[in-house]
């Protein structure tokens, strides 16, 4: 039966047909605003763009934030209302407390959709919310066909599925790189307090170690330079940092480079690391395993520098240079 439906669907509409977006008088969307140190996360602004494509209304929820975050999101076009749960305990995004809040807010406002970025926070919290509401969750969407039909990559991006949710509430995380970031637009949405929900206090936040860097954020950078096993050690990454600084690029890495301890885990690009889609992606000493390609193959222009002419990375690279990276990278840095 499933197969028949799918076939009818394909017949009825040409492949890669221009997407239509529901005018959606019915969509009533809750956007979960992720924030840190008073700043709204980039992924939230991408998720806001996705949410506005449903039509209908978008209500932003700021949990654990200072007023400034609520005032800030209220200015974005498409936000009709802002709810705040000001208790500071929410600021660590602990799912045991955040999920019940989202459930309560969703039920009391009859939200039809809950959207968040597909980030460590979004991934952690939204499936828990979905289970508490007894609905499915749709992860990492890259497109919206209608109010209940979404596009998402599966098998490390080697297949693209169009999926339709039959549930009354759609719990969705959004791939940031698939949607433009929403812009501030002098909007002035009303800010209201969300209902109070009892805290469980079962999990305690102990601390964090954030990698500090002056370079652009990997997830949103226009240019990314990544190193792989071919870098040989952590010290050699300095070659990439120098080139990145010349180009205003962020630095990423393959799993091999992370596992070998060359760089921190948070720099990993791939199926299980960050998904990036910059204007320019430069892969240096990276062979191009399926799992790495999953994280970068939607980049606009891909450059590969590798001494192995048969490396799979060259099959997706717009420009491939077969050369020793220890010669090519310093030369590039010097000539830029």
């Amino acid at each position: 039966m499933l197969a028949n439906t799918a076939r009818t669907f394909v017949k009825a509409r040409p492949l890669f047909a221009q997407r239509f977006y529901a005018t959606g008088a019915g969509a009533n969307t809750l956007l979960v605003v992720e924030h840190k140190d008073g700043a709204i996360s980039g992924a939230t602004l991408n998720a806001l763009t996705a949410a506005t494509k449903l039509g209908g209304t978008v209500t932003a929820l700021v949990a654990g934030g200072e007023d400034a975050v609520a005032q800030s999101i209220a200015k974005y076009a498409g936000v009709s209302k802002v709810l705040t749960a000001s208790d500071a305990s929410y600021s660590k995004n602990l799912p045991e407390d955040l999920a019940p809040l989202l459930v309560q807010v969703t039920k009391s406002n009859n939200f039809t959709h809950v959207f968040a970025g597909h980030t460590a926070v979004g991934k952690n919290v939204l499936p828990r919310v979905a289970a508490l509401l007894d609905v499915a969750a749709v992860s990492d969407i890259t497109g919206i066909e209608s109010e209940d039909t979404f596009i998402r990559p599966i098998y490390a991006g080697n297949a693209i599925a169009t999926v339709k949710s039959g549930d009354n509430v759609k719990i969705v995380t959004v791939r940031g790189t698939a949607f433009e970031a929403a812009q501030e637009a002098g909007n002035n949405a009303a800010v209201e307090a969300a209902p109070e929900v009892a805290k469980t206090g079962v999990t305690e936040w102990v601390g964090e170690e954030i990698q500090k860097s002056d370079r652009p954020d990997l997830g949103t950078a226009n240019r990314v330079i990544s190193g792989g096993r071919g870098m040989k050690n952590g010290e050699n990454f300095k070659l990439l940092y120098d080139l990145a600084d010349k180009m205003g690029a962020a630095v990423g890495a393959s799993r091999a480079a992370v596992d070998a301890g060359f760089v921190d885990n948070s720099l990993q690009v791939g199926q299980t690391g960050k998904i990036v889609a910059p204007e320019l992606y430069v892969a240096v000493g990276i062979s191009g395993a399926i799992q790495h390609l999953a994280g970068m193959k939607d980049s606009k222009t891909i450059v590969a520098i590798n001494k192995d002419a048969d490396a799979p990375i060259f099959q997706v690279a717009d420009y491939g240079l077969v050369e020793d990276l220890f010669k090519a990278v310093p030369e590039m840095t010097e000539k830029l």
Partner: protein, 256 residues
């Protein structure tokens, strides 16, 4: 840590990570007549449970898989790695088995089973549907705390201290058992099952139950309308020198 500790480890049989998947002719799914293995994150989950058992030998490790008859191969692999017993929740057609249904099966099994777990250790995501949902959903259904994307697990009495991989770095949280842990790649390096252990695993207990036994409705909530190949990239062009590369990036691609 409470002693004896009981750990449930759900494992999934998926298309092997090294296989390049292809969309089938009907555009309804991918071609599944290819090599399958245990989901790599689940191997890490099994390994972590066994390492805990190595420190606290009375620990019982129970591998559980929801899927077709072939899921038993995956369970035998877990037993060969060192799990004590296995539970197979047999689902005739597992191609439409979704995270919410799996979480409900695991919840129902937990509630029914007399020997309750102190911990569930799951992989953070299956590399086929890439959902990253089941552990979080199970935690919600059981109303247990969840520590996802774990790269380090420590016990402090009845509490668990878990280091989690988050955007930009690491975070540490402390929670109480019973709890759910999902594994990130960095948690450990899974062992290979030795031949003697593979032989021993054949004699370890494996019980089979059905969704009906557990009273769980596993019908899909999400319908797959179609599955397509991703857009092809026109790669493969090579340049001869750094100068040529920089020239192309400036004047052709206009990205510098």
């Amino acid at each position: 840590m409470s002693n004896p500790l009981r750990i449930f480890v759900p494992v999934k049989r998926v298309i092997d990570f090294a296989v390049k998947v292809r969309v089938n002719a009907g555009k309804t799914d991918v071609d599944r007549n290819v090599k399958h293995s245990m989901n790599p994150f689940d191997e890490i989950a099994v390994e972590e449970a066994i390492r805990i058992k190595e420190k606290a030998p009375k620990t019982e490790v129970v591998a559980i898989s929801c899927g077709s008859a072939k899921a038993q191969e995956t369970l035998r692999t877990a037993l060969a790695m060192g799990a004590d017993r296995a539970v197979h929740v047999e689902v005739k057609d597992d191609s439409t088995l979704q995270p919410l249904a799996v979480a409900k099966l695991l919840e129902a099994y937990t509630n029914k089973e007399e020997k309750k777990p102190d911990l569930f250790i799951l992989g953070k995501q299956a590399i086929d549907d890439d959902s990253n949902q089941t552990g979080q959903m199970l935690a919600g259904l059981l109303n247990w705390p969840q520590t996802t994307f774990a790269s380090k697990v420590e016990f402090e009495g009845q509490s668990l201290k878990v280091t989690r991989e988050i955007d930009g770095g690491l975070e540490t949280v402390k929670t109480k058992m019973p709890a759910i842990i999902t594994t990130d790649l960095r948690l450990n390096e899974p062992r290979y099952a030795s031949l003697p252990n593979i032989m021993k695993a054949k004699k370890k207990p494996l019980v089979k139950i059905t969704p009906e036994d557990l009273g769980v409705d596993i019908s899909p909530r999400i319908q797959t309308l179609k599955v397509e190949e991703p857009p092809k990239r026109e790669g493969g062009r090579k340049v001869g020198s750094v100068d040529e590369l920089l020239d192309k990036l400036k004047n052709e691609a206009k990205v510098l």
